[in-house]
């Protein structure tokens, strides 16, 4: 786009057809994810999922009207446990990503706007975290604070911080050199105000995109942790834990693995697709044909 474009909206020009298709993907992803969340919340509010710890039927019963997704090895109905699992997994991941977004935003903005000691310190700490194998970090954390929700949240936060901080820092560096920030400084606007009024809104897109990717990583990590026994603990349910529990019954009670496994894959897929769409929206690129 030319610098001196006229009154034409300066928004990204892209082919509307593709745009609409991307929107469709975004919408479908959001709707599926929202449906999962709603189902989980509803189950929780009505107490449908709360009593899931109770034995209700025989072991490993096939899906029926009474138990739409069958029962597990302790005779519990799988559906409420699955709903509880969705709630736990998403809630944990969201909380963790929120934590890491806050930390990364503050650290990345500081490192991006103050070169020198601040930036170096922040980036070295980030390097150390980055160099630490993610899963080991998680295992150590869970050994330190004891496995469970807190460990999962702390691990996911620590794992997602490095990349996010780097991206926020890069975005910040881009924004701080923009003329409007320099103008604000010349006008004597306080640093704190510049952060809140100019930096934050303008890197919000990056944060949103990174957060959505972090969320998909979070769901994966939660699954991996619970699978290895370092994450969510029984009798609570999380998708990873349910997959792990279901693995043993693959032939006799495949629903025990397939239900949480498919839900897990679908949620990660949705979050990823949302991230892709957000990214296309915030960092638009005109694609060009080579012919």
């Amino acid at each position: 786009m030319s610098a001196a474009t006229t009154t034409a909206p300066a928004g990204p020009a892209s082919r509307t057809g593709r745009r609409r298709r991307r929107d469709l993907v975004l919408w479908i992803s959001c709707v599926v994810l929202a449906a999962l969340v709603l189902a989980a919340v509803a189950a929780w509010l009505t107490g449908f999922a709360g009593s899931a710890t109770q034995t209700a039927g025989g072991r490993l019963e096939v899906p029926s009207a009474a138990f739409p997704l069958g029962t597990d090895n302790l005779g519990r109905s799988v559906l409420p446990r699955l709903l509880e699992g969705i709630a736990t997994t998403l809630a944990l991941s969201l909380v963790a990503v929120a934590c890491s977004a806050v930390v990364s935003t503050v650290a990345g903005m500081l490192a991006g706007s103050f070169a020198g000691a601040v930036s170096e310190t922040v980036m070295r700490i980030v390097d150390v975290l980055y160099a630490f194998p993610a899963l080991v970090l998680a295992i150590l954390v869970s050994a330190l604070v004891g496995p469970g929700h807190l460990a999962a949240i702390a691990s996911i936060t620590l794992i997602t911080i490095p990349l996010m901080t780097r991206m926020v820092r890069m975005a910040t560096m881009r924004v701080v050199s923009r003329d409007y920030v320099v103008s604000a400084r010349i006008s004597g606007v306080r640093t704190g105000r510049i952060f809140v009024r100019h930096l934050l809104p303008n890197i919000a897109g990056t944060i949103a995109v990174q957060a959505s990717y972090a969320l998909s990583v979070a769901i994966l990590v939660e699954g991996g942790l619970s699978f290895l026994g370092y994450g969510v603990q029984v009798p609570d349910a999380s998708l990873g834990l349910l997959v792990q529990e279901g693995m043993l019954y693959l032939t006799r009670a495949p629903w025990l693995l397939l239900a949480p496994g498919a839900t897990l894959v679908v949620s990660i897929l949705c979050v990823n697709l949302i991230g892709d769409s957000l990214r296309d929206r915030f960092e638009p690129r005109e694609t060009r044909s080579l012919t």
Binding site: T53, Q54, T55, R59, L60, N73, L74, G75, A143, G146, P147, G148, G229, Q233, V234, P235, M247, L248, Y249, L250, T251, R252, A253
Partner: protein, 512 residues
């Protein structure tokens, strides 16, 4: 599997889950997969071995004076026979053919030295051996052991690997370090070992059974993941595999060649109630009993164990003279009374510690959680890795309210009942106080000869322990063994006391 999935506990012969077919193919490598390796502070020294896995592995190389049979009764081992001139004196006649794998024949000095060594360097098993006052060679093939007082489990205690006969001449000469190298009279010799990966055992050519062994070598693989062991059985990369989950058989239903059997163990799961440093309410015997009464042992068996296990009291039910579970006070106590007791305390919130290496604990914990919910006790399950678990449970003061664990039941009821005496057990001193009445009954159980009188003592002991409800036995912990009928023909006891499912290994046939 034959009966469409559920593992069979039908016996091939009385007392046997499987009997090797001498006609079946032989001479192949036998591949056995287990879930974890031995890792003892004392290395490979059998006398320091504290865990059943070490007993089993070292038991392939070492032999003991006595052994136990399919009905958990004591049978001759390296001692071909014995006499008991008095209640406190045992005279063993040694097998003249017993030879160490280096070719040296076993002597009475080896036996004497081994037992002395165990007594002089106190280890876990020293206590189980009983009040031994003297061990002497009393002939070219005779060893006499004298006890300070009658100790009924003595012969059973001799049947376990820590009491094995070591090559004392070589050890005393400094030629071998038993912690690093195994030299025994057993049927096999360890040829290779990678910690946590595998063991390779080859026949000890000096062993009497060497010539007739039905396999060329034994490869013991350490495979941590249950599903992988199942897969190993399915695709034939394992001949025999130890399985943890009762439901593992389910994964093998469609494979006609794989058999899954449950070996009944004297091992059992128990619930620890921390009456010393746990929730103050737990110091109240009524509260503990209420908890005990609320726990549905049969429910645990049905839900967690798919009915293949059995509820047990302090004395493991498969052993002679064991007490009947149904006669325990907690079995007949009413849930209403239990709830009333808890209500007096305004409800209780307790944590329940388990560790993650034994999947079944999580299931048991969840059933207990449900049971206790009914009497107003809210249980929070906390899973840790074993290191963390043990640092909280065995610390002084112990840092938990409830915890799950399991005991080896051994081959005599009196061996395990000792653990109910914290002063004897040591490890439980941080969370249980026990009682003088109980201690007395425990002592009586050890010294009373087998028979109805002893059964009476055990019945009282069970009731007393049940009433005190400090350490509450739950259900037996069976060993689930899978094997491929097409490549291996094993001999497996229906019952086992020392976790050694390869006890009859010399009978196994592995197809080439």
């Amino acid at each position: 599997a034959s009966d469409g999935g559920a593992a069979s506990s039908e016996e091939a012969a009385p007392g046997f889950l499987a009997v090797a077919d001498p006609e079946s193919g032989a001479g192949g490598e036998l591949v056995v997969q287990v879930d974890y390796d031995t890792a003892e502070a004392s290395g490979l020294d059998p006398q320091g071995a504290a865990a059943a896995r070490a007993w089993m592995i070292e038991g392939l190389v070492y032999e003991t004076l006595t052994t136990i049979d399919e009905n958990l009764a004591v049978r001759p081992g390296l001692a071909t026979s014995w006499e008991q001139p008095s209640e406190t004196e045992y005279v063993f006649t040694l097998d003249p053919e017993a030879t160490f794998s280096n070719g040296r024949a076993m002597t009475p000095d080896d036996v004497v030295g081994s037992l002395r060594r165990l007594i002089d360097n106190p280890a876990v098993w020293t206590g189980q051996l009983g009040p031994v006052t003297a061990v002497e060679a009393t002939g070219a093939d005779q060893v006499t052991v004298t006890l300070a007082e009658p100790y009924e489990p003595f012969l059973a205690a001799l049947a376990n690997t820590p009491a094995a006969v070591l090559p004392m001449a070589e050890i005393e000469a400094g030629e071998i370090d038993p912690a690093a190298e195994m030299l025994g009279t057993g049927p096999l010799v360890a040829a290779d070992h990678r910690q946590d990966e595998y063991w390779v055992f080859v026949p000890n050519e000096h062993h009497p059974a060497a010539a007739d062994l039905g396999f060329s070598s034994l490869r013991l693989e350490i495979v941590a993941d249950e599903a992988t062991r199942v897969a190993g059985l399915r695709d034939g990369s394992a001949d025999v595999a130890l399985l943890n989950a009762v439901d593992s058989a389910d994964l093998l239903t469609d494979d006609a060649d794989v058999e899954v059997v449950h070996q009944q163990n004297t091992d059992f799961h128990y619930l620890i109630v921390n009456s010393l440093s746990g929730d103050p309410a737990l110091q109240d015997e009524d509260v503990r009993f209420a908890i005990n009464a609320a726990i549905d042992r049969d429910g645990i068996n049905d839900l967690v164990m798919a009915g293949v296990s059995a509820a047990t009291g302090v004395t493991p039910v498969p052993l002679p003279d064991a007490c009947a579970v149904d006669d325990l006070p907690s079995s007949s106590a009413s849930i209403e009374d239990a709830r009333a007791v808890i209500d007096e305390h305004g409800g209780l919130e307790l944590d329940l510690l388990i560790y993650d290496s034994e999947a079944v604990l999580a299931d048991i914990a969840q059933v207990i959680q449900q049971n206790l919910a009914e009497i107003g006790v809210t249980v929070e399950i906390a899973t840790y890795d074993y290191a963390t678990y043990s640092s909280r449970v065995y610390a002084a003061p112990a840092d938990f309210d409830l915890a799950l664990s399991w005991f080896s039941g051994y081959a005599d009821p009196a061996m395990v009942t000792g653990w109910w005496n914290p002063r004897l057990a040591g490890f439980s001193a941080g969370y249980n106080h026990g009682s003088e009445e109980l201690d007395a009954l425990i002592a009586a159980g050890a010294s009373t000869p087998a028979g109805s009188q002893r059964a009476g003592v055990f019945a009282d002991l069970c009731v007393q322990a049940d009433t005190e409800s400090e350490t509450i036995p739950l259900v037996l912990r069976p060993t689930i063994i899978g094997y491929r009928g097409d490549t291996v023909s094993p001999t497996l006891y229906s019952n086992e006391g020392y976790g050694d499912f390869l006890r009859m290994l010399t009978e196994f046939h592995a197809a080439e």
